[in-house]
Structure formats: structure tokens, C-alpha cells
């Protein structure tokens, strides 16, 4: 079953606008929530991540908001730029041996100039 649900599937934003991508998870054992950015023809790259003991993390124009009680987290891209156009994946992982990371289905972001 899909343990991390991501929406929307695609998103079009004007340059300078705010891009918002949402994710929800089911397993409360997850303890690390990264976002990956993937450009066409490239592998995913870690963009920003958060642990459940904080509600928000900001790095430059990228912010993760985390709601532990609702089991939801979101990525906000402020002042979106055409160079941000990529596919974004949320993910969730749990520590310890025999564990792994589960990805959301991805959001294709297009930022129009």
C-alpha cells in the first residue's frame, strides 16, 4: 500500500508565486521526512528534510511545514523561479535496521516565466 500520499500530481505556478506541495503519511514510526528534487534525466537529490520534533524548517526559499497530529507535511517554495521546474518527491523513513524510505508519487512543478 502507498504509505506516503502526495498531492497535487502536477502544479503550474507563475514566476514569483508560491508553490505548495502536500504529503500525508500513515505510519507513526516514521521519524525523518525529506523532500527530493528531480530534474529530467537526473537522479533525485535531497532538497530539505525535517524531523517530527519541529513544526517548521526553512532553507532559503524552501520551507517544510510539519503537522505531527495530522500526520501531514508540506513543501512551500517561495518566489518560485523557472529553474525550480522539476519533479518533487516527499518521503518518509524510519531509523533502524531493516527499515527503508517510502516515497510519495511525485509532483511535477512547472514555473512559468
Amino acid at each position: 500500500q502507498q504509505q506516503v500520499k502526495q498531492s497535487p500530481q502536477s502544479l503550474i505556478v507563475q514566476k514569483g508565486g508560491i508553490s505548495i506541495i502536500n504529503c500525508a503519511y500513515e505510519n507513526t514510526a516514521f521519524d525523518y521526512f525529506p523532500w527530493y528534487q528531480q530534474f529530467p534525466g537526473k537522479g533525485p537529490a535531497l532538497l530539505i528534510a525535517i524531523r517530527p520534533d519541529v513544526s517548521e524548517k526553512k532553507e532559503g526559499r524552501f520551507t517544510i511545514s510539519f503537522n505531527k497530529s495530522a500526520k501531514q507535511f508540506s513543501l512551500h517554495i517561495m518566489d518560485s523561479q523557472p529553474g525550480d521546474s522539476a519533479t518533487y518527491f516527499c518521503a518518509a523513513s524510519k531509523s533502524g535496521r531493516n527499515n527503508d524510505m517510502r516515497f510519495g508519487a511525485g509532483t511535477r512543478l512547472t514555473v512559468k516565466p
Binding site: 537522479g43 535531497l46 517510502r102
Partner: protein, 113 residues
């Protein structure tokens, strides 16, 4: 310096053939992974290797076999290729205690005709 490298980048082959994809990481990580990304961009983990031991084996056909000669390499061997195996395969690595921080290779696009 390339952190995670894969060869080949493109692989076109016929049904029924056997092929291998090689992966090497120079990050000193102790865990390596193989992912399959389908045409809808969904990332599915196939295998995880930690210190040469298979940790995860998702519902992957036994035609797929990972082989790790040492901690820096995790190769993927595929027997009796089928049309449905066409996808992009990504190798990734991480430290076992930081499973959420994975470094991905550039991918191998496999096309089975």
C-alpha cells in the same frame, strides 16, 4: 568527483536477454539501494544492501538479483528480461543511521524490445 555512478546510462535489449547494471559509490556509505522508476515517475525501492547483507527485498521477481562485491559496489543483474522491466533504474547510497539522506546515481534507462 562523482559520488554515485552507474553504468551504462542507457541499455536497449531484447526480451529474454540477461543484463547487468553496475553501481559504485565513493562516499564511504554502508548502505546501498536499487530503485525502479516507472513511466509515471513513481519510485519503488527494490533492494537495500547493508555491509554486504540484503536488508530489504520488496516484491521483486527473482529474475532480479543484486550482487555486492564490496561495500562500495552494488550491481543489479536481471535475467530473462521482459517488456515490463523497461524503466529507469537508480542506485543510491546512505549511511545506515541516516536512511533518509540518500544520494542517487544518474540512473540507467532500460528499454526492453
Amino acid at each position: 568527483d562523482t559520488a554515485v555512478s552507474q553504468t551504462p546510462k542507457y541499455l536497449v535489449t531484447q526480451m529474454g536477454n540477461d543484463k547487468s547494471i553496475k553501481c559504485e559509490q565513493n562516499l564511504g556509505h554502508d548502505t546501498m539501494y536499487w530503485y525502479k522508476q516507472d513511466s509515471k515517475k513513481f519510485l519503488k525501492i527494490m533492494f537495500s544492501y547493508n555491509n554486504k547483507e540484503l536488508i530489504i527485498n520488496e516484491t521483486v521477481p527473482n529474475r532480479f538479483s543484486p550482487k555486492s562485491p564490496d561495500k562500495a559496489h552494488l550491481n543489479l543483474h536481471i535475467n530473462s528480461l521482459e517488456l515490463g522491466d523497461s524503466a529507469v533504474y537508480f542506485c543510491a547510497s546512505s549511511q545506515q543511521d541516516r536512511l533518509g539522506e540518500q544520494y542517487f546515481g544518474p540512473g540507467t534507462r532500460l528499454t526492453v524490445t
